[in-house]
């Protein structure tokens, strides 16, 4: 076996003034980072967790919405429709997986049908293509295993792996000289003449001409570090179940009619790229915006929806639960059902751009939102194209997706493709090594998991975790106490059994 290799260190941040500091490495921060990399200027992304996509962007439905849910003439509707249209090209450039597997919003009776008609009309106004109202018989022929009388059929709704997309954006930004700093929270933003001083939890201060606040559920707090503008996030939890792989039960996303005055689109069933099914999300307003726990009551509620829509799912094993937090804004009238995205230069502090309340469809809208941010900057100063920008990210090898002949060839090239580390998803040691040695230099077990799918299958790491830990210890010289699940407080081990 080869020499022990260390993961690539993150380059030390320059002491000079940056042009842009982005706070938060979710899908929004990473989209903006990559968009800015197309222009000259020095960009630093500061993230308090140990990896990109560590908060909302890892815990959502991963759905690219077609654009019929949002009221016309809102930023939500506009960025959704524009964003979706940009994904095909993005997936080709960045080599992440996207599947246009369509959606059915299902109505159980005439009353619910009215809501479908409303959504259809709204979609038409938003310029959404590929929408149709269908009836029971056609539902049956499309999806024999679901219940429903009427449905809104959306031809262009798609799925992605949200963390894979975010990682792809960040890796490509990184390759184009954007720098990422992890495990440091921004705690202070002050302005001296035209320069921001951005202070962090580690006692560092970074200087910048622009600050872009895309701190997700914390974006109101971050904004408040610079000025009080009155925005307040109301965290709203969405819990999920993940089932074991189920091929053939449903092809499309199956959504209910959105609950009236509800905080979300309703508990739905989303097939994933790897053929698991996500069931969720629930919607509960909570006080602690870091409370991503699963609750017994909600887990029960989620399960009752199964019987209503897809009874055949009741026999399938669950493999995991998770929860994400919607960063909700509540509009002036106290109406909890709708408030638009805030994407603006701060009203009190110029050169600070706030992105607040970026809940659903923020994942779909991310590419369009990033362009809006660049436009805001471009309206104030001349942005010069970076001719050296390379939009491509190399496709990581997914051994399991290859033909036998290709697999055999790979093993001849590199014998580590012949060592199976993850049994459920058939991930090889070569892929694990590639994930560990990622361009961002992040290296928790969750980071490895989101890059190559090990630990994500039905045995939830029972087989591969000891093997991956073995690699980290033996090949990369990690100490047992330095093996983390995700951030630095999540150590797996407290030492050796025998010294």
């Amino acid at each position: 076996m080869s020499e022990p290799r260390k993961t690539r260190p993150i380059p030390a941040p320059a002491s000079s003034t940056h042009d842009f500091i982005i706070i938060g490495a979710g899908v929004i921060g990473c989209s903006i980072a990559r968009e800015l990399a197309k222009y000259h200027g020095d960009c630093l992304v500061i993230e308090k967790e140990d990896d990109v996509a560590s908060e909302i962007s890892k815990a959502n439905s991963g759905v690219l919405h077609a654009g019929f849910y949002m009221p016309p003439n809102t930023l939500k509707a506009k960025t959704d429709v524009q964003g979706l249209a940009m994904f095909k090209k993005l997936s080709e450039e960045l080599n992440f997986e996207m599947r246009t597997n369509e959606k059915l919003v299902v109505a159980m009776d005439e009353e619910e049908l009215k809501h479908l008609e409303f959504l259809y009309e709204q979609g038409r106004k938003n310029g959404v293509k590929g929408l149709r109202l269908i009836e029971e018989q056609e539902i049956r022929s499309m999806e024999p295993n679901i219940n429903g009388k009427y449905a809104l059929h959306s031809l262009f709704s798609s799925i992605i792996k949200p963390y894979e997309f975010t990682i792809a954006l960040a890796e490509n930004a990184c390759r184009n000289r954007v720098r990422f700093l992890f495990n440091e929270a921004v705690t202070r933003i002050t302005r001296h003449d035209s320069t921001f001083h951005v202070g962090t939890s580690e006692g560092n201060t970074f200087l910048s001409r622009w600050v872009i606040n895309c701190a997700g559920v914390h974006s109101d707090d971050v904004s408040r570090m610079a000025a009080e503008t009155g925005y307040e996030i109301h965290p709203c939890k969405g819990e999920y179940y993940i089932t074991d792989k189920v091929e053939g039960l449903i092809q499309r996303m199956i959504y209910p009619v959105p609950p009236k005055h509800g905080a979300g689109l309703g508990i739905h069933f989303t097939p994933t790229i790897e053929h698991n099914i996500l069931i969720g999300p629930s919607a509960q307003y909570i006080s602690d915006r870091t409370d991503t726990s699963n609750t017994a009551e909600t887990m029960k509620t989620l399960k009752t929806e199964i019987h209503k829509y897809i009874p055949g799912l009741a026999n399938i094993d669950f493999i995991r639960n998770y929860a994400g937090i919607r960063p909700k804004l509540i509009d002036g009238k106290g109406d909890r059902t709708f408030a638009d995205f805030v994407i603006e230069e701060n009203k009190k502090v110029d050169h600070l751009i706030d992105l607040i309340g970026i809940e659903s469809p923020g994942l779909t809208g991310a590419p369009a939102i990033a362009q809006m941010v660049v436009d805001i900057i471009g309206n104030k100063e001349d942005l010069k194209r970076n001719e050296a920008f390379d939009p491509h990210r190399e496709k990581p090898v997914v051994f399991a997706a290859l033909s036998c002949e290709q697999q055999a060839e790979l093993i001849q090239e590199n014998e580590e493709y012949g060592i199976m580390v993850c049994r459920c998803e058939t991930v090889t040691q070569a892929e694990i090594v590639n994930a560990i040695e990622n361009p961002l230099g992040v290296c928790s077990l969750d980071a490895v998991k989101r890059r190559c799918r090990s630990m994500m299958g039905r045995c939830q790491g029972g087989f591969c975790t000891p093997r991956i830990v073995g690699l980290l210890l033996d090949r990369y010289g990690r100490k047992p106490q330095e093996i983390y699940k995700n951030n630095r407080k999540s150590n797996l081990f407290c030492g050796l059994i025998k010294d």
């Binding site: 036998c404 014998e415 199976m420 045995c459 029972g462 830990v469 030492g495």
Partner: protein
């Protein structure tokens, strides 16, 4: 692509697969190949460093590795070739076995296949515990692997969920390690999951508290586990409000069941049983796919490794017979499981069979019951139990003058 032809291929080199490979060879098949994805032979045995193996097979108490050593010696004596670090990725409908290792992708054509892939552990997701999802939660087998094979200490204050044999053995293991402490063992059922002798030797001798009818209802700690809420459960296993109790701990071991690992069997088209989650087999341990056999934990979960090996020996003999003499696919009759029977094995009886070894488990502990096995109206076996446990697999031999074509098994209440 490398191609090979063999008579019998055995997948998995745990106690079942090792025994099966040895027995196939001893029964006159020369061209046997054993495949194992680990870098060592012995399967789960190697991480079971406690005593408790070999009583049935060798008439003495051995540790897991010692027990494996004996089987491996036999394998060497019989000169059966094996490929280590070799993961079987696929078995297709024509019994073509695809294996990956560092040499390449190998396609093996076999006349017979013995499935001996063992099992995996049920996880937190499968049993749906609410709460946060921090580091510090391990399935017992993974914790055992870290502790015994990697010298890593998973935590200090350990709660064990599940009172099966594995859970109790792990509780004692924690008690014996310096700097680790078993807080308690929790069991959701109103009765012990494992063998009584294990409760005495593993829990009582080390003063480890056992709480029956109790489960984990909340997990605290956003990053590393910081504590649990546990609750009593009612007769429907639902937590009872008002019985919540907080426990401080930094580690949770889950020992909440094993699941036969039948992904490959499924790919091969083998029909599975709902009761065992293993293959449906007949009394030759032949599955629904002719020439494919199954033994050990992949067939049903064994509490004793010796029985997995005994199954391996038997299957080796049958696979050899299949290869050397061949047989037509006969008519098969299902065995009916009645009241109180969780599962039984085999599920099917071949035509003209008059003698049979039947294995079964009951659903829960029963007192004062009779086990009754009949062929049509004819009683073949009956035995009274003052106490019969779900944790103990029962093995019964039955004989009949007439072919066994209508066998039923059930429990009946008797007087005390």
């Amino acid at each position: 692509m490398i191609r090979r032809e063999v008579d019998v291929v055995v997948i998995g080199a745990g106690p079942a697969g090792l025994a099966a490979a040895v027995s196939t060879k001893r029964n006159g098949v020369d061209n046997v190949l054993l495949l194992e994805r680990n870098e060592f032979l012995g399967g789960i045995l190697l991480q079971c460093i406690h005593d408790g193996f070999g009583l049935h097979l060798y008439d003495r108490m051995l540790s897991g590795p010692q027990y494996a050593e004996r089987l491996i010696e036999d394998l060497e004596k019989e000169d059966v070739p094996c490929l280590l670090n070799s993961m079987v990725l696929d078995i297709d409908k024509n019994k073509m076995v695809t294996v990956a290792n560092t040499k390449g992708l190998i396609q093996i054509e076999a006349k017979a296949i013995i499935l001996a892939m063992g099992c995996r552990e049920r996880t937190r997701g499968a049993i749906e515990i609410p709460g946060f999802r921090p580091a510090g939660i391990f399935t017992a087998g993974v914790a055992q692997n870290f502790m015994n094979l990697k010298n890593l200490k998973p935590g200090k204050e350990v709660v064990i969920l599940g009172s099966g044999d594995v859970g109790m053995i792990m509780a004692r293991h924690v008690a014996l390690e310096q700097g680790m402490h078993p807080v308690c063992v929790l069991e959701i059922m109103p009765f012990l999951g494992g063998l009584t002798r294990n409760k005495v030797q593993c829990l009582d001798d080390y003063d480890i508290p056992l709480h029956l009818s109790t489960t984990v209802t909340d997990i605290k700690g956003k990053h590393r586990l910081q504590g649990l809420t546990i609750s009593k459960v009612d007769e429907n296993l639902k937590p009872i409000k008002g019985t919540e109790q907080d426990i401080a701990c930094d580690t949770l071991f889950l020992s909440v069941g094993l699941i036969p690992e039948n992904e490959l069997s499924r790919k091969a088209g083998v029909a599975l049983s709902r009761g065992t989650r293993g293959a449906q087999v007949d009394n030759n341990h032949e599955t629904s796919v002719p020439g494919v056999f199954s033994a050990g934990n992949v067939l049903h979960i064994h509490d004793v490794a010796d029985y997995a090996s005994l199954e391996g020996y038997y299957v080796g003999e049958k696979a050899a017979e299949y290869v050397n003499k061949g047989w037509d696919q006969p008519k098969r009759f299902p065995i009916q499981a009645g009241n109180g029977i969780m599962y039984l094995l085999p599920q099917l009886i071949r035509e003209d069979c008059r003698e049979l070894e039947l294995k079964f488990r009951v659903k829960r502990p029963y007192e004062n019951v009779r086990v009754l096995i009949k062929n049509g109206d004819v009683r073949l076996y009956q035995k009274k139990f003052t106490r019969i446990l779900a944790s103990e697999m029962q093995i019964v031999r039955v004989k009949s003058d007439r072919p066994l074509s209508d066998v039923t098994i059930c429990l009946e209440k008797t007087d005390a």
